[in-house]
Symmetry: C2
Subunit: 320 residues, 2 copies
Amino acid sequence: MAGVEETARMIAPEVVRTPVLRSPRLNDILGLSLWFKAETLQVAGAFKYRGACSFLMRLSAEQRNRGVVAFSSGNHAQAVAAAANRFGVSAKIVMPSDAPAIKLEGTRAWGADVITYNRMTESREAIAGEIARQEGRTLIPPFDHPWTILGQATAGLEFYQQLAAQQVLLDVLLIPCSGGGLTAGVSTVFRAHSPQTQLWAVEPHGYDDTAQSLATGRRVSIQPPSQPTLCDSLALTEPGHLTLAMNQHLLNGVQTASDASVLTAMRLIGQHLKLLVEPGGAIGLAAVLEHPARFTAGQQVGMVLSGANVDPHVWARAHS
Amino acid sequence: MAGVEETARMIAPEVVRTPVLRSPRLNDILGLSLWFKAETLQVAGAFKYRGACSFLMRLSAEQRNRGVVAFSSGNHAQAVAAAANRFGVSAKIVMPSDAPAIKLEGTRAWGADVITYNRMTESREAIAGEIARQEGRTLIPPFDHPWTILGQATAGLEFYQQLAAQQVLLDVLLIPCSGGGLTAGVSTVFRAHSPQTQLWAVEPHGYDDTAQSLATGRRVSIQPPSQPTLCDSLALTEPGHLTLAMNQHLLNGVQTASDASVLTAMRLIGQHLKLLVEPGGAIGLAAVLEHPARFTAGQQVGMVLSGANVDPHVWARAHS
């Protein structure tokens, strides 16, 4: 995928070049050499701001004047709201009425107009599509678009460059996976620059639509379990079209992790890295904890901590 | 104080060049342009690791062979233990038997030999001095030594350089103050490179020994209040000799903040910067919240988030 370097240059003035952090003690405990890309420190608390900037900055002046619309229950909503605020663009965000209050408030706080809908009886795609048509707004897709994927890929480019500056080549890279935009973008960069790195997406138990799609060779829509995952940002039940097509060629495999492992991972990240992290953002480390036999002692293992928009009560659960 | 640049070069391979973070939303809420130096992400979770490395790296091979000793109830203990571990030096740390379990465990986890004492009946200085004499160990002072202060000053040098790279000159810099080592070191750098910046130390209400010492022109030992401060890392009751002499010449003043403001500051830092921070580490923002009239709208205000070794229960208190 061409254009990652150009996208990185374009959005550089807007995004945080997030640090790569590590913990000697956590390395000792797990017997691995771990590298954490802290996208938790990105604007609006998640990598999603990269994709939102990549998309908004490519719009024409006329498109910006007409405003944008997006649907999301969480990090994409806040990212589009924050980027629209930054560029003086009107934003309408379609969110489920039962979305976490912290995410509804967070989106409104960036000045976006939040439209709530009933998840049981209404379609967010239909509502957002109708707003786009009626008001001439541009729909900002959460993952299944080249401009979005290019933005997320810049997190991978930075990560690769930051590691290369320390002469580190990863043996394994773990990427949280929902619609697959971060996975596709970051994997594109590492496949090109660091071909020996094993690229693994990580999904929550029961939400392994990308794993099933890779296994069957077609886009699988899964039936979600009755028990919702703690990883609200990874709760989609089917991959994107473009992202799946990319990930089929790029990934070495998919790991899954349970809520229990995710809670332990959140606690370890707080204790040793001093970062807040949301459940979905901690799933890479959760996979390490849950599948130790899949790693060899001393391996260089990187992971993207993808977001930090965690409710204080959920954070507290990780420490109880 | 000469030698900050040399110290920075010496310890650079060992320490984290911690990021400077900001939050557009927090800036909007407070009407200021805030810059946060995240020493919370330093090795062992606090700026103290800089001073410990600065000191240990200057010891002779023979001194290193004989080992080191330190007394501390918290961040200095963990920093010396971590640095000693890094350089293969034996460390004994004298800690009160009622120190927070998380800090006792943290110090032991770095491989240090922890000697506990009864705060009511024994003197930690006497115990550590006796160990130093009997075993030929070098005592690593927590703040009142040029090597320690030079190490802490490197946080200021980095902060200054990171701001200068963005063409930012601070109007005000807020520095958490206990023994005064961080304050003296960071102030030295900013006084030299950025003379127009107002340099303010920040102490907890009731623990304003540096404020009283500056006001009276002599080293004041205060009677601590019956209610202990939440800021365990800032609970000393008298400044150092060297640090006070330096701070008398360097500081523009001292602010104080209450536990209530500190808890609010911790919550805001978690919410908007996604960082864990301990009470003492958040006191700069607490001073902004408590004394808004001392700041002018739009001012460039920097602060050092000095540490993140916070008990999960204390963190939860900030969100209740």
